[in-house]
């Protein structure tokens, strides 16, 4: 699974990255968490409010810090789908 956290590097984006990493660890799945800070690349996901979370190319949330349970639910769903 490939997870991307999109955000130009504000505190809220870092918090999002932390939450995502924790959720991945708790879910016990193999996932690569990557932080995207390049605006050009962020724009390619059709997101204009950050932080945003992308899983396997699919935007899961934008413009807010997700909760950990929420991220875990996404991971679960993605896992079931694959």
């Amino acid at each position: 699974m490939e997870i991307k956290v999109l955000g130009p590097g504000c505190p809220r984006c870092q918090q999002t990255e932390k939450i995502v990493k924790e959720a991945v660890a708790e879910a016990g799945v193999e996932a690569k968490v990557e932080k995207i800070t390049d605006i050009m690349e962020i724009m390619t996901f059709g997101v204009i409010s950050t932080p945003a979370v992308v899983m396997d190319g699919q935007v899961k949330s934008a413009g807010k810090i997700p909760k950990k349970e929420e991220v875990r639910n996404w991971i679960k769903k993605e896992k079931a789908a694959s």
Binding site: T37, I48, K64
Partner: protein
């Protein structure tokens, strides 16, 4: 573009706690609202009793006046804040920056400016997101001036400022702030649009193409909207309560101890230069609305003119240094200067207007 962005954001996290069903939430909400209403109307009596009977302070003394002011205003403002942040949270759950962009894309200039300023209030916005938002708007064909109308209105007219103005000065001043703020956003954006400064957008911005990726859209149920609004209350009130108390404490001290008319000599309406001075002082200052307004209240009460004080406030929260620094990344220096110049002129005019009229 990897430099750290520092910005103060009151942003809402969101959960998926739908364990309690909608009906139960509505019942809880109704009961809370009734309790709120009742408490709010008893507040003056209760805090008066605390000040004069419980603490035994005397009416008319410096300490008594300051204490009564503090004890009444803190709970009053905090209660108003909770109510309004909740309401605005509900409203904002209907608007995302992505939706706003779709509404504004393809709109003509004047109509677009009006819409953009209005949507600036309804859309959750954070200075951190200013760049992707700017690029997203411009790329979708939203005219530059319309985009700027949005970016002026969004920080300037915020719910915290409105609550505090309403709580401390009454609805007239709050309405005045809301309408003049909107007007400045509309007209400034329109003027910049007229100047045709599109080529002063940084080149790298114009090269970005998002390949027509459909924007991310989220669907929300009523139950999750209520959660969202409640989360907004927890996040925002949780962050600003300390500023509210500190600000009101300063306000209370001035209220009790600084003589009436003290400010009139240099912030009164006779001193024409007080408005530009207020704007010049206000722009580099960066405070959230919660911290600034109680001080503003104290200034007003001691004889500073309303226009001067409104101009000061707009300059502090509407035209902030962090936002211009962030916008500088996408706007060339000339456009940034024009942006600051046009908005500052608008604020000046508002200041002069109110000093002349009121």
């Amino acid at each position: 573009m990897n430099n750290k962005v520092s910005c103060e954001c009151m942003e809402t996290t969101i959960g998926d706690s739908n364990q309690i069903n909608l009906r139960k939430k509505l019942v809880i909400l109704t009961i809370t609202l009734i309790a709120w209403w009742f408490t709010y109307h008893q507040l003056s009596k209760v805090t008066g009793w605390f000040t004069y009977d419980f603490f035994g302070l005397e009416r008319g003394t410096h300490l008594g006046e300051a204490m009564a002011f503090f004890l009444y205003d803190v709970p009053k403002v905090l209660m108003l804040l909770v109510l309004v942040v909740f309401g605005v949270g509900l409203l904002r759950s209907f608007f995302t920056p992505e939706k706003t962009r779709d509404i504004l894309a393809g709109k003509k200039e004047s109509v677009g400016n009006v819409l953009a300023a209005g949507l600036g209030i309804a859309t959750p916005f954070c200075t951190c997101s200013a760049i992707p938002l700017f690029i997203g708007f411009v790329e979708a064909g939203v005219p530059l001036g319309v985009t700027l109308s949005f970016l002026i209105a969004a920080p300037m007219i915020n719910e915290i400022a409105l609550v505090l103005l309403f709580g401390l000065f009454g609805w007239k001043v709050a309405a005045l702030y809301l309408s003049t703020g909107l007007l400045i956003a509309m007209v400034s954006g329109w003027v910049i649009g007229r100047l045709g400064m599109e080529r002063h957008i940084e080149d790298w911005v114009r090269e970005i193409r998002s390949n027509g990726t459909p924007l991310f859209m989220e669907t929300m149920t009523w139950s999750s909207r209520i959660d969202y609004a409640w989360q907004a209350v927890k996040d925002i009130v949780g962050k600003v309560w300390i500023y509210v108390i500190a600000g009101i404490a300063v306000g209370a001290a001035i209220h009790g101890y600084v003589p009436v008319g003290f400010m009139a000599s240099f912030m009164g309406r006779e001193a024409w230069w007080s408005v530009p001075l207020a704007v010049i002082l206000g722009v580099p200052m960066y405070s959230n609305a919660a911290g600034i307004i109680p001080i503003v209240q104290a200034l007003l009460e001691k004889g500073a003119a309303l226009g001067t004080v409104l101009a000061f406030m707009m300059a502090v929260i509407g035209l902030s240094l962090p936002e211009t620094i962030i916008l500088r990344k996408v706007l060339k220096p000339r456009l940034i200067l024009v942006f600051i110049g046009v908005v500052a002129t608008g604020i000046l005019l508002v200041g002069f207007l109110f000093n002349a009229l009121l």
